[in-house]
Symmetry: C2
Subunit: 444 residues, 2 copies
């Protein structure tokens, strides 16, 4: 009887092992569909996550299952595709073997598509107490913690404690930080006061902290100016040129000594690559990313590639490497796939060229900013039109017709009813300084 | 500044404290909407659960958020309603005070609507290793464990180990047991083989164990006969007149010594009331339920009531108490609400009379059984028609238009595409005997 990993072992085909099923890895696997190669995808989750909408799961606007999709279902018709839920542990480049949590897999081509994780720059306290927003677990943790803190706010009398439960500090003025600040301000205005009638949401402050002078670095000046203006209108306190020095789970201290009282610090300030053991250190550049050539080949190797956020493809146009976004990841996955097909046919690979279609961020109801590039024309738009474009592009990018439909229903519902549907607490929440410690039981 | 529990303390209204927001407690709270009473609902979750569809969440057919609804949203327009997420700890009937995990609440009327939990009849091993299906956490735990076990099945070579990961033992031949057995057999036939192409689902056995001679005890003989017939057709092994003696997380031993190998034992065999400390023991009957009179008054008290599964209203027609189902719970909640209004007006209360509209269970695609009572006429129907009725009634019973729409989409999708959408692993799974202990790492 042939079981387990051995089933995929019975092959005379060349094997492509992909570590990580994000935008890059998944696109690569799909591109290799019609080939005579065996594709093995390793991921610690059994589903692909549509990361750009994580913040909506965190703010109770969408259910987790609408933005994730099991690999086995996405790929169920692709016969040369095999999935294993496992963690990559180390590579032995001599024997061309990847050790995983469930077994050893020999590879002909190894593709590292492990993406990036939150970068706390070595600050252990922050790492432990802050909530980042890179995975569905993060998003659910944040959602549970927000709702749970409001429930607790009903127990406290002390004004400082109340602030600590109702205020939010978001670090990082990129798209994630801006989007979550906007979403929270919408909840404050339209949603929370209906459910939590006894709380006064005048008490809920939203702080957005950005280390540089502008929000949405990398977008056009008009986009970052407008984003700031919208956030001001929504009542978000934007701190520019400020950094977080420390966070003890209750007080956030800024670099100028100022203190903000909050039990929730949302960390959207920076990312670092998620490298794999066994790859030579000299292939790595700052930010824990692998230096790749224009064919996404990790520089020290012939048959090891890196794509997506983990790959640093440095060029005159992009001296820090290609931007860590969904589009370059997808395009690199596709280009590498086509190149592997070329290698197999004995042809020369084609260099990767990033086709930048622009970027965008939504701030809240009817408000977004977009810098688009269409047929080499730059179109900059803000406000309602940008918001419609944002929604349309995100909706069609979600995998699966059923998911798209459910997301659309949730969005229409939220828009018409000023209602965020998913305000439930299921599973873990982050208990920074439990209220129970400091509050005497009330008596009514 | 007036915060916390004290906000609800500032009232000269009489206070009704309800413990538990299931069908009974929620209906009671709604019935008291237009009164001059203050309603305080205590629940350890912040959402109401539509329990009859838990099994569909467990079998990856529905997302959790479709069948749960935050109390604060359901009740957001009812001004005399207050919710506190807390656990009831004990009642002091002298001072009319309920102690909860977050404070002490004085009551004028106390209503116990805590429902029932799985009854393991004192078997600690079963309690620890089995999975019951009473809460959304249970359902998600089961879903995660099922999918995760199939992922693990790809690692093992040994036939017994493989069976332990792919087989299911369900204990209890009531509606929950029958429905989950049917749902699993559908997944085995249509869904799992597409995603897990390398596993042979001939290996997946589904055992349903019923202590008595018939399935669906309490329904008509034709319903239980048909249910058995459908399950036979679906390839479920039904064991009648058998009990589970023990389960070590790997082997299920029956009372006749027979052993079934499975890491998943689904416990749908019996429930026991969830009582509250401080209520006199003599008010309790077998099964940990409170003996109530025909006004749902707990027999030893004047102003303490019990409704729903926790209430044992014994009558000539129902010598074991009213059945522990959604319908009697809802009707008791409504009747008690109306009676409390009568008490307030100095009127006599009306005795509860259960209006039995019948019961039903779905077994799988196009197959259900229903014993209906409509205008005192008994209608017994099985098969496709019963299945349509089952779907219609459950769909309209779900709270919230958005939830109904999302459930409908999922059902239609599943029906047309032979696809169960939510096969993702997020959060906890039950690791009975981890595979890693016994399996050497494969090498391919």
């Amino acid at each position: 009887m042939l079981l387990n990993l051995e089933k995929i072992a019975q092959t005379d085909k060349k094997r492509v092992v992909i570590i990580g099923g994000g935008f890059a890895g998944l696109e690569l696997a799909k591109t290799l569909e019609k080939t005579d190669l065996q594709i093995v995808l390793i991921d610690k989750h059994n589903y692909h996550t549509f990361q750009p909408l994580l913040y909506q799961v965190a703010t109770a606007g969408l259910e987790a299952s609408s933005i994730i999709h099991p690999y086995r279902r996405i790929m169920q018709d692709q016969e040369n595709f095999f999935f294993r839920m496992a963690e990559a542990q180390s590579v032995d480049t001599e024997t061309q073997t990847l050790e995983t949590s469930i077994g050893f897999i020999r590879y002909d081509y190894l593709v590292i598509a492990t993406g990036a994780t939150a970068n706390f720059y070595g600050n252990k306290e922050l790492q432990e107490k802050a909530i980042s927003l890179k995975s569905i677990e993060d998003a659910l943790l944040l959602r549970n913690t927000i709702i749970s803190n409001f429930e607790k706010a009903l127990q406290v009398n002390d004004e400082e404690q109340l602030n600590s439960l109702m205020d939010f500090v978001i670090v990082g003025g990129g798209p994630t930080g801006v989007e979550i600040a906007g979403a929270l301000s919408e909840l404050r205005k339209h949603v929370f006061p209906k459910g939590f009638r006894e709380l006064d949401f005048v008490n809920m402050d939203i702080h957005l902290i950005q280390s540089g002078p502008d929000l949405l670095k990398g977008m056009s000046p008009v986009a970052s100016r407008k984003a700031k203006q919208y956030l001001d209108e929504f009542g978000v306190t934007v701190w520019l040129n400020r950094r977080v020095k420390s966070f003890d789970g209750y007080k956030v201290t800024l670099d100028n000594g100022e203190q903000l009282c909050s039990r929730i610090l949302i960390w959207a300030a920076g990312v670092t690559g998620a490298p794999v053991k066994g790859i030579k250190d000299e292939c790595m550049v700052s930010g824990n990313r692998y230096k790749v050539d224009q064919f996404n080949r990790v520089v020290c190797y012939d048959n090891i590639f890196a794509i997506g956020d983990i790959a640093a493809m440095i060029s005159p146009e992009y001296p820090d490497g290609c931007p860590m976004l969904a589009q370059p990841a997808i395009q690199q996955g596709r280009n590498l796939g086509n190149n592997i097909i070329r290698y197999q046919a004995g042809k020369k690979p084609k260099p990767f060229k990033y086709n930048d279609r622009g970027s965008m961020a939504t701030i809240g109801r009817n408000k977004a900013v977009a810098d688009l590039k269409i047929f080499n024309r730059e179109i900059r738009t803000q406000g309602f039109r940008a918001w419609l474009i944002w929604m349309f592009i995100h909706l069609i990018s979600i995998i699966g017709f059923r998911n798209r439909l459910v997301v659309l229903i949730n969005w229409v519902w939220k828009y018409l009813r000023y209602d965020a549907g998913i305000g439930v607490i299921i599973g873990e929440r982050k208990e920074n300084k439990p209220v129970e410690e400091s509050v005497e039981k009330a008596r009514i």
